[in-house]
Amino acid sequence: MQENDITRLASDERFLNYCFRRNADDVLYWQQWMIDHPQEAPHAEALRKQLILMAETSRARLLQEHFAELQARIHPPTKQPVPLHRRIWYAAAAVAILITGAAVFLLYPHQANDPSVAQANIQPGSNKAVLTLSNGRQINLSDAANGNISTQHGIKITKTADGEVSYDASASTGDAGYNTVAAPAGGQWHITLPDRSEVWLNALSSITYPARFNGNSREVQLTGEAYFEVTPDKQRPFRVSSRAQTVEVLGTHFNILAYQDEAVMKTTLLEGAVKVVFQNKSIVLQPGQQSQAGSAGMIVKNDVDLEDVIAWKNGYFKFNEDLESIMHKLARWYDVEVEYQGDVDKGRIFAGKISRSKDITAALRIMELTGKIHFKIEGRRVIIMN
């Protein structure tokens, strides 16, 4: 039997019954087949393992998708102008509209050849974020003047500088509700929480936290990416939740990447100790380790390049990964859409370092210099070609 014929087994219902142990007859039949065909048996067994893993992964992914939909209904996202192409996950109706919209757009690129449409000026990101208070009032942090922004329930919120906001809850008691800081695509912000923990929020990310930490834990919610430096407090563990993952810390420095449109959530520890809980599995990370949680479960990566992980917080990009991952990061910072034309290898690895304040073409040119890809920009769309 050729390699091809082995794959054909996957369309044999009896073989599938054997793989997934659906009935005794087919299991016995194929067990005997394995004994009678010693040369093909290892290939068939390898196929069986592959099918089981595929079934399991698709199951886990479906669960994750459905749970994410539920979460979006429980905690509806804060109102911020989100480009149509990024509105994924939120509700069945929205998904239907998105799919139709995208299809129409790709079929009829009506403005591509219109010379009167000026090429959109693609600026790098900057300090931009919106603060939502517990009473629902929204404050545009970039527009706000330095100084006191709000005093609610005795909690003083101050814009200390461009890109920074700080909480002082020393004069308050009792429950003060939740606040959210959300950075749009092309935005970022640095927040000092009521317990003096610091959070650097990346583009297209949001963090929700109590305006005053009560009780015996400090619980915040994150979508997107943020770097944390948490004040040690043994009495009150600090917990960050993202989708089905919770990261629990006592006091430490770590980075969490949990974007809605990225399948895998990554938590990297720089200093201290954290426990990552995902789907009933928990792992305690050591400095230099990174957990990766996705539909196939959670694994730990050792000896991660920490400079790569927090380069964004220090104002630059440091890439050493596949093209698709790089383009995701650029899309969020420059607020552009990415399209691939032709047979582009999205898995090709590129390495490089470039300041986040440079124009997008600078980053794209670094990759173009390798001769492996070419790009062109149409409006707010970046097109990658061979």
Binding site: A10, T57, H66, E69
Partner: protein, 211 residues
């Protein structure tokens, strides 16, 4: 396996239920959701409902549970409560007059998810990463079809009907995904094969008692 495995394990989630209702622990909420999600999808499929509708009923139910958790302290048997509420939602939307007898419900078949965990551990890390990357990158629609074919054991005709595609498209989706993944794994010269050979005897031993 003759005992009602799901019921046993469902009852064992009592501490999670209490942790969520009483203590608002969201990871407990997730544990309960995870457990019942698979079973309810299976039930919905068995009763002939499309995947989307079943999902909506599951999420409606759990949204209700989440939003009314302070009023659910009286529930003694969370398993019965959840299953009955789910079925009521499922059939109510259809206006069908179905008799909901919870004791007549089938058990969940023993899908080899335990074995999947074994394979996961034994398989070379690189292989597993390739699989994870590939399966996560698959368009949602294709991943759903693979789930329907392998996990729900639907025929290609049923899948075609459920997804509004032709039987040929359904077949090609599954076949191509398998072939592509196989090529990806062997392209990196990775040894699913090697792992298979060493594990062959172990697996036969493990599963012989399931027959």
């Amino acid at each position: 396996m003759t005992e009602n495995d799901k019921t046993l394990r469902g009852a064992a989630l009592k501490s999670q239920w209490n942790a969520f209702i009483g203590g608002e622990r969201e990871d407990a909420f997730y544990a309960i959701y995870t457990h019942y999600h698979d079973y309810f999808i299976y039930l919905g499929n068995l009763k002939g409902f499309p995947l989307e509708k079943t999902k909506d009923c599951i999420n409606d139910l759990f949204l209700h549970v989440f939003e009314h958790r302070d009023q659910l302290g009286h529930v003694q048997h969370h398993h019965n409560y959840l299953v009955t509420s789910f079925l009521r939602r499922l059939f109510r939307k259809n206006n069908a007059d179905e008799n909901i007898d919870i004791t007549s419900l089938p058990d969940m078949p023993a899908f080899p998810s335990v074995e999947a965990a074994y394979i996961q551990q034994a398989t070379h890390q690189e292989v597993y990463k390739v699989l994870q990357r590939y399966m996560d990158a698959l368009p949602r629609r294709q991943s759903k079809i693979i789930y329907q074919k392998f996990y729900l054991a639907l025929s290609y005709e049923e899948i075609a009907l459920a997804n509004g595609i032709t039987v040929k498209t359904a077949y090609n989706t599954v076949y191509n995904a398998i072939g592509k993944l196989k090529k990806l794994i062997s392209k990196h010269h990775l040894g699913l094969l090697a792992a298979a050979i060493t594990l062959l005897s172990l697996l036969f031993l493990f599963f012989s008692r399931f027959l």
